[in-house]
């Protein structure tokens, strides 16, 4: 898991890094490329699920489609997260690029993804799986195991936090979109 990690080596103020969008006049394109890059660099995401008033969080290896319409992860079916999301498909995922450094406070980008989970099957599942494995090739055995499910989250909105307290909301209009 070493390649492409977003570890900062320099803390030079004013040095532009791809993760800094923050205060710049927010444009949709700018925010989308920020998200695309974050999702490419980060392997893991915290998934939040709920059922009967109980909340549950777990770490999942995730992938996102290029158009940002869908987020994917794989899970064994006998897990609490899978049980919860089948009962209650409204889920959230949190992705960030912190490096556990004090200076992270203003430098970190944190994204809450809100959407609806579903479990595709047939050719649809196969296409999604190929996409997922492109980012996580080592997960093939795990993801293709008979008891594993590939979960597709159709994204409704992204809450993007930069520079500690700047929060922008990127909403996706409409339903099914091209992948």
């Amino acid at each position: 898991m070493k390649k492409n990690n977003d570890k900062r080596t320099s803390s030079e103020p004013g040095t532009e890094t791809p993760m800094k969008a923050g205060h710049s006049a927010p444009r949709i394109a700018r925010l989308k490329s920020l998200l695309g890059e974050l999702f490419a660099r980060q392997y893991f995401s915290v998934l939040a699920t709920q059922s009967e008033g109980r909340l549950h969080t777990s770490l999942v290896a995730f992938a996102a489609t290029k158009d940002l319409g869908v987020v994917l992860f794989a899970t064994p079916k006998a897990t609490r997260k899978f049980h919860y999301l089948t009962v209650h498909p409204e889920v959230s995922l949190f992705v960030d690029n912190r490096s556990n450094d004090v200076a992270d406070l203003y430098r970190v980008t944190g994204v809450t993804i809100s959407g609806t989970a579903e479990v595709p099957s047939g050719p649809d599942r196969e296409a999604m799986l190929r996409l997922y494995l492109r980012k996580h090739p080592h997960m093939e055995e795990f993801a293709r195991s008979p008891n594993s499910a590939l979960v597709r989250v159709k994204v409704r909105k992204y809450d993007v936090v930069t520079e500690f307290q700047n929060v922008m909301v990127l909403e996706i209009e409409g339903g099914e979109r091209l992948r």
Binding site: P13, G22, A25, P26, I28, A29, L31, Y106, F164, M168
Partner: protein
Amino acid sequence: MRLILSFREIEEREANLVGGKAVALSRLSKAGIDVPAGVCVTVKAYERFVERTGLGERLSLILDRKSFTELRWEEIWDVSLRIRNLFLNTPLPPDVKAALREGLEQFSGVPAVVRSSSPSEDAAGTSFAGLHESYVNVRGLDSLLDHILLVWASLWSDRALLYRKELGLDVARSAMAVIVQELAAGEKSGVAFSVSPHDPANAAVEAVYGLNQGLVDGTVEPDMWLLERASGKIVDFRAARRSEAIRSVAGGTALAELPESAKKTPPLGVGELARVFETVMKVEALFGGPQDMEWTFKGETLYVLQARPITARARGDGMSEGGEKPWERSDRRSWYLSLTRSLESLKRLRRRIEEELIPGMDADAQTLSGVDVNAMADRALADEIDRRRLIHGKWVDRYWADLIPFAHGARLFGQFYNDTVTPKDPFEFTALLGSEGLEGVERNRQLSEMAALVRNSGELREHLGEKMRSRRFEDIDPAIAARVDGFLESFGDTAGALSWGKGELLALILRLAEAKSARGGAGSRNLEKKTNAFFDRFTGEERERARDLLELGRASYRMRDNDNLHLARVEAQLGKSVEAGKKRLESRGLEAALLDSEQVAQVLRDPSNVPLVKPVPTVAAEPVELQDNPHLVPEKVVTSEGGFRLRARQLTGQPAGQGLAAGKARVILGRADLLEFRPGEILVCDAIDPAMTFIVPLASGVVERRGGMLIHGAIIAREYGLPCVTGVQSATSLIKTGDSLVVDGYLGIVTLEGAGE
């Protein structure tokens, strides 16, 4: 590791430990040239201080708060003030303190100089000299330690932050060394260039009476000699108008009148001049390149204070280079550097502003208002527009050249306050600046008095309502008529490029009367008490200095607000002539609304040649050196695109006025929005123009795109005790009129209560 090295102990290769300035002094001293006795506090002391106290992490938090490409110059000053205050409020660890006291013992009984010696300044090349602080005439060990903290803090001075990329400024890597020397309070001082900047065959010597800060910051005009490098023969001499000199006084330095005999005699005799010349040539030979050397004569001894390779030395006026206006250059940073001025130079500037510039602006506005532009023939009107453009342009230039630099007075006071009081809040000093004499506040007071009359009399309200409906403004009830006329007389031309009409004023008064009672300004209730408590900290000469600085700070703070109103009066006269021209063109069926003043004049002269509307350039997140161009408008934000919709949930800026407010946003994009303003709304704007502050008493909070703690919006919001957040990027695009906002003026956060949460 020893934290202090004497000049003798410093090795040439140790520039990273002691900085280039200390290495140069050490080399001069070893070569037998007289330099004032001194030592260097190495970067190790800075590093130990920053590491032990956890200051590094706190520095990162201040510096990372907002991306540097988005900071305005004024915000950079705010950042550096916060950092300066952080250093002053952080005690030295006991072992560092003990080591410094021991190593500096020799200076306990003599006046000293504390100077920066930054390794990064040298790494970046010598053109960045003067970015860090130096202090002259520091007395006593405790004061020495305080000033060492200030020099350390100046690693992050506003000037250094402007050049952070070139300097490679980095919390984890950058450090500062400090030179402590005995003060050589010379009778005459100056600068010598081994090669004249204008003629490679000659050397140049400049000399003043007293200390040479006056020369370096442009306050005191020097005598100047050109000498042939080969022979030392004098080839040219230019005498100065000698009148004053900088001398050391308790707590620093001050400008003093010269005795008559000195006014008539050049500071240097022929023999002394020859010695300065010989020394600078010797220094050039020592360092192997043309040198710029600061020197002083104390008695018979010629001391070299500093030597460095020749660069373009920044002068106090910022006007030295070429004919281009420095604030119109593509890289404005050298102009920003020139805005940091001394007390003496600002006092002089104040006289010029109060005695010449403001009366001049008013006189021009007065004269122009007596000219009836509507009665002019086309060609005469075109000429009149051009004439007014020139007059207005002249005052805009004065505004940049003199009035903006004068704003530094409030900062200078702020620094002095923080140095002497060391408050927790670096902006506590603004409470002492007061609001007396702010024309905007006076205007608001008159408005609220008229509103109170209307509020308390149903009859009057009825009467004015009727006037509004019939749009007939004659025969206003005498209970208020004189006040209305008086108001229009004094402030009619200050509401922006266009003037107030009576109808608009009455509409505003009625609106103000709807509010239960508009806020009053904080006034002078506690001001006197606070002022006296501040003065009580000082005695003797120091007290005079405190008084001088506060007086200057107040004048600067007032002027910061008032100058715009005076300029607005001139601008209104230009506007009137342009409006008359446009009306005329439109009555003939020409499209004139979007033409600028120059184009209106052109079409009046030649109606067959209607020019294209000029495109309005936009401003993105432009770096500071390109900012504040008055011709730029904020970048448009795209909020809907390809199935995605973007909205803001929370925006951050600087906490410029404490408090918490919740209410509906009123986004000010034009004059019409101002007149729509309802009591209790939150004012959201690009930049509060002093001409629009009349609605502030109606607002419950202020959000401003332009950042800074001393900008109009922040000043006026604090005056009315309103929560205020400045420096909110794209505020007027991301926030819409009617959005529910929470303004957190403690943390500098604006939250939008969004739909769909």
